[in-house]
């Protein structure tokens, strides 16, 4: 089921878990709003990670923690520091892409 969510005065569509259902609706303001909801203030390092995730999504590469670690953008320890509460889950949500279905 999709829900409507207000970002400023603009409506976007999200699924039951709060992930965007239409990546075209994503912009920096969406990212900042979603990050704030889980008490994350986006730094340049966060943005670099989000950009990497979005590139992987556009290239249809499945995401998992190992790929993040070998990305050259961030190491796993840092990734957990940037997004402490379930990093892959929260970072993909902020990046406006689907939740990864990987078990690792």
């Amino acid at each position: 089921m999709t829900h409507t969510k207000l970002i400023g005065e603009r409506a976007i569509s999200v699924n039951d878990e709060g992930y965007l259902t239409d990546y075209a609706q994503w912009d920096a303001q969406v990212a900042e709003t979603l990050a704030k909801e889980i008490n994350i203030e986006l730094t340049p390092k966060h943005w670099a990670v989000l950009k990497f995730l979005q590139e992987q999504y556009k290239n249809e590469v499945a995401l998992n923690i190992r790929r993040i670690g070998s990305s050259g953008v961030v190491d796993i320890k840092e990734f957990y520091q940037l997004f402490p509460q379930g990093p892959l889950k929260t970072s993909t949500k902020i990046a406006g892409i689907p939740k990864p279905a990987s078990c690792i």
Binding site: R66, G69, I76, K77, Y80, G86, P87, C103, I104
Partner: protein
């Protein structure tokens, strides 16, 4: 259901066997917990210690004897080299789906904030010292200390 509405806060995973499949099951559960924002600690005991023994951790095998899921006759499973063959086949399949080798997996678990503990009694029994273990093992613990670390609402203990 009144403790955090049943929410899981921390997984304490006891690794008691060193077959490749049980070790990977334990690693994937610990990593998966961290990925969900759940704390995770692992306690390696008895043969499970091989999974953090520097010299042995890259040579874990799956059991080809006494393992009905292998679907090969038990006697065949006992032939020399069968375990190595089956294990290397399994490793190859796992690499294909991006599951890392044991040492790299331990590195990922540590970087993800998983605590790794070695069981004192099993260390004594096998005459291992901390020098025999994977470098980033947190410490050697007694079972009492392990239970002490398991205190708190929303902690679950899992024996593998």
């Amino acid at each position: 259901m009144n403790e955090f509405n049943g929410e899981i806060k921390k997984m304490m995973i006891i690794v008691s066997k060193a077959t490749l499949d049980s070790v990977y099951a334990a690693f994937i559960l610990a990593n998966g917990a961290r990925a969900e924002g759940i704390e995770a600690e692992m306690f390696f005991t008895f043969f499970g210690l091989e999974a953090i023994n520097k010299k042995k951790l890259e040579h874990l095998h799956i059991a080809t004897v006494g393992n009905p899921a292998m679907h090969i006759p038990t006697m065949l499973g006992g032939f020399p080299g069968m375990e190595s063959l089956a294990s290397s086949m399994m490793r190859r399949e796992m690499e294909k789906i991006d599951i890392p080798p044991v040492h790299e997996f331990l590195d990922i678990l540590k970087a993800s904030g998983v605590k790794l503990w070695a069981c004192k009694l099993a260390m004594d029994m096998f005459h291992y010292t901390k020098a025999d273990l994977y470098d980033d093992v947190d410490d050697i613990l007694t079972v009492g200390a392990f239970y002490d670390r398991s205190k708190g609402l929303g902690t679950h203990i899992l024996f593998i």
